[in-house]
C-alpha cells in the first residue's frame, strides 16, 4: 500500500455516465487481488475525501490498471475531466480481503453476479478465474441498455454463460439478476457478487446453503486504511463491527449483516 501519483493513459465514456480509466505506474505491480480498490484523490482542491474505486483489471506487461466508474456525484464528475498524461494521487491497493479466486478448483463452478458499477471487481475476478481455468457463469444487471458495459469482455474470458438483465428490458432480458439466477437450477460452489446492498441481500437469500457466497460491500469512507471507523458494517450476529476498507471489502455473506 502506497500513496503515489499514477499517470492517466485513457479516460473515456463506455456507457451512459460510465467511464473507463486506465492508469499506469509502478504501483500497478502491487495490484493483484480482485476486489481490492484504490483510494483516489479528486483533482481540484476542495474535495477532502478520496473516492474508493475497485480495480477492474490490470495488465502487468503494460504496467497499467483499469477502473470503471460511474459519474454519480461531484467527485466522479471531476474525474471525468481528467485527461491523458494528467496524474492522479492514488492510495492503494486497499482492502484486506478480496474475492478468493485461488480457492475454487477446476471442477467447481463460480457464479459471478454484478449490478451496475458493481461489475468492475467481478470482471477482475473473472479474469483470474479464467487464467486458472475455473468455469464461471456471469449474470450482470443494469438499469437499461445505455448503462450496459463489459458484456463482450466477459464473453472473451470464455464464461460458460453471460446473461444481461435490464430493469426496463431494453437490453438482454427484463428483470433483476435474481430472476436470472433463479432460472438456473444447478447451484454453483461459489458466488462472487458486487452491487447495491439490496441486490447482495437478495443473492444471499436466493443462494443454495452449500454455496459459498462472497459479497463486496460499499460504504462511505474516510481514511480507507482502517483508522477512522467510517466504513463499518455490523457482523451478522450484530455483536460487533467489521471495517469494510481493511476487513473487506469482500466478505463471506454470513460474516456481515446486509
Amino acid at each position: 500500500m502506497k500513496s503515489v501519483p499514477l499517470k492517466v493513459v485513457r479516460n473515456q465514456e463506455i456507457a451512459e455516465e460510465t467511464y473507463e480509466m486506465t492508469l499506469s505506474g509502478e504501483l500497478v505491480q502491487e495490484m493483484n487481488r480482485p476486489g481490492t480498490f484504490l483510494h483516489i484523490k479528486i483533482p481540484g482542491s476542495h474535495h477532502v475525501l478520496r473516492r474508493p474505486i475497485s480495480i477492474a483489471s490490470v495488465n502487468q506487461e503494460l504496467g497499467t490498471c483499469t477502473l470503471v466508474y460511474k459519474c454519480t456525484g461531484e467527485g466522479t464528475r471531476a474525474l471525468t475531466n481528467v485527461r491523458p498524461n494528467d496524474c492522479l494521487q492514488v492510495l492503494g491497493p486497499l482492502g484486506g480481503q478480496g474475492f478468493p479466486t485461488e480457492e475454487p478448483s477446476t471442477d467447481q463452478e463460480v457464479t459471478l453476479i454484478g449490478g451496475g458499477v458493481g461489475v468492475p471487481p467481478i470482471y477482475f475476478a473473472a479474469r483470474r478465474l479464467s487464467e486458472r481455468n475455473i468455469p464461471f457463469r456471469v449474470i450482470l444487471g443494469f438499469q437499461n441498455e445505455a448503462a450496459v458495459f463489459y458484456e463482450e469482455a466477459f464473453k472473451q474470458l470464455q464464461a460458460t454463460d453471460v446473461t444481461i438483465m435490464t430493469d426496463d428490458g431494453s437490453y438482454g432480458e427484463k428483470g433483476t439478476v435474481i430472476d436470472a439466477f433463479l432460472k438456473h437450477d444447478q447451484p454453483s460452489s461459489y458466488i462472487y457478487t458486487c452491487g447495491p446492498r439490496g441486490m447482495l441481500k437478495a443473492v444471499k437469500a436466493a443462494a443454495h446453503p452449500d454455496t459459498r457466497v462472497y459479497v463486496s460491500l460499499e460504504e462511505h469512507m474516510g481514511c480507507g486504511i482502517g483508522a477512522c471507523f467510517a466504513c463499518v458494517c455490523k457482523t451478522e450476529d450484530e455483536t460487533s463491527y467489521v471495517k469494510i476498507c481493511t476487513d473487506g471489502p469482500v466478505f463471506q455473506s454470513n460474516e456481515v449483516l446486509l
Binding site: S3, K41, H46, H47, C223, G224, G226, A227, V232
Partner: protein, 305 residues
C-alpha cells in the same frame, strides 16, 4: 530531527509541534505501516470511553466544499482494551500520547482517566467536552462553563498527569468556557472540535448521514478555528493545541501566529495520509522564510495579552 522544531507542553515533550488529531489516526496502527510514528510530535489517540462503543449507523461521513462531516459516534474498544491492546503497541515508538477521553457522565470520564492513567506513554489527557456525535454527554459539558469546570476539576482530581480540555466551537462565547476550565485547573486547551453541520441527499430528500447531523472539519473551518484560538489566547496563558483545517506547514504557521503552541492535523490525514510527515518536513523552510531559528519564536506573536 531538527532541534528547531521542538516544543514543550505540559506532559508532552514534542520533537515538533505536529500531532495527528484525535479520531483521524485511530490508535496509530494503520499509519505506522505508512511511516515511522516516532517522527511525530505527539499522537492524539481516538476518543476513548469507559466501555466499548459501536457508534452510529452508516453513512458516517459526508463531504462538503473543503470539508467533511463525520458522525462516527465515538466507536472505540473501551478504556481497558485501549490500555491493554492499543497503548502497548504504541510503546515501540518514541512519541508521547495524548489520550482523548469521552463519556456520557462525569463518572465515565473519570473512570477512563483512571484506567489509562498508569500507561507510561500517556503524557497527558485531552478531555473531549465537545463531541457533537453522541446523544448523551459530550457536548453539553462543552457549552456550559459551569459543567465544563465541574468536569475538569473531577478529572484533575483523578490524575496527576496534565489535562487538556478540548473545546467546542458551537458556542456563543468560547472564551467563557476557556476561562472556566482554566479556573478549574486545566493545564492546557485543545481547540477546536468540529462545527455541527448537515448535508442532504437530493435524490432521497434525506440527510446523508444516518445520524442526520455530523461534525464539520477540514479547511472549511480553518478561519473559525483561527479566530477561536486567537480569542482564547487573549484571555489565557494556558498552552493551546490549535486545530481545524490544517493541511500544510503554512497553515501551521498561521495557527502559531494566532496563538497556538502546537497543532493537531485531522481531516488532512484522509486527503493525504502523509500529511503530518510532509508538514514536519516543510516546517524548517518556513522558519527560514520567517527568519525564525526556532518554532518557539513564532508562538504567541500576534498576541495582545
Amino acid at each position: 530531527m531538527s532541534e528547531r522544531l521542538a516544543v514543550n507542553l505540559p506532559g508532552l515533550t514534542m520533537k515538533n509541534p505536529i500531532m495527528p488529531a484525535s479520531g483521524c489516526f485511530g490508535f496509530g496502527r494503520e499509519f505506522s505501516e505508512l511511516y515511522d510514528l516516532s517522527l511525530l510530535g505527539a499522537i492524539a489517540i481516538k476518543g476513548t470511553t469507559g466501555e466499548q462503543r459501536f457508534g452510529n449507523n452508516t453513512p458516517r461521513v459526508a463531504e462538503s466544499p473543503s470539508g467533511m462531516l463525520n458522525s462516527i459516534g465515538l466507536q472505540n474498544p473501551g478504556a481497558k482494551s485501549v490500555r491493554d491492546n492499543e497503548l502497548p503497541f504504541l510503546e515501540q515508538f518514541d512519541v508521547p500520547i495524548l489520550a482523548n477521553v469521552s463519556g456520557s457522565s462525569p463518572e465515565e470520564y473519570v473512570n477512563v482517566v483512571k484506567t489509562l492513567n498508569d500507561a507510561s506513554n500517556v503524557g497527558a489527557f485531552e478531555v473531549n467536552i465537545s463531541c457533537p456525535n453522541v446523544k448523551t454527554g459530550g457536548i453539553q459539558f462543552g457549552t456550559d462553563p459551569e459543567q465544563a469546570a465541574m468536569l475538569t476539576s473531577l478529572i484533575k482530581e483523578a490524575t496527576n498527569k496534565p489535562v487538556y480540555v478540548k473545546l467546542s466551537p458551537n458556542v456563543t462565547d468560547i472564551t467563557a468556557i476557556a476561562k472556566a476550565v482554566e479556573r478549574a485547573g486545566a493545564d492546557g486547551l485543545s481547540l477546536i472540535n468540529t462545527l455541527i453541520g448537515m448535508r442532504f441527499d437530493w435524490r432521497t430528500k434525506k440527510p446523508i448521514l444516518a445520524n442526520e447531523k455530523g461534525g464539520l472539519s477540514g479547511p472549511a473551518i480553518k478561519p473559525v478555528a483561527l479566530r477561536m484560538v486567537y480569542d482564547v489566547r487573549q484571555v489565557t496563558d494556558l498552552p493551546i493545541i490549535g486545530m481545524g483545517g490544517i493541511e500544510s506547514a503554512k497553515d501551521v504557521i498561521e495557527f502559531l501566529i494566532a496563538g497556538a503552541d502546537a497543532v493537531a492535523v485531522g481531516t488532512a490525514n484522509f486527503t493525504n495520509p502523509f500529511a503530518c510527515l510532509e508538514i514536519i518536513d516543510e516546517l524548517p523552510t518556513w522558519l527560514d522564510q520567517l527568519n525564525a531559528s526556532q518554532v518557539s519564536e513564532l508562538q504567541r506573536r500576534g498576541v495582545v495579552l
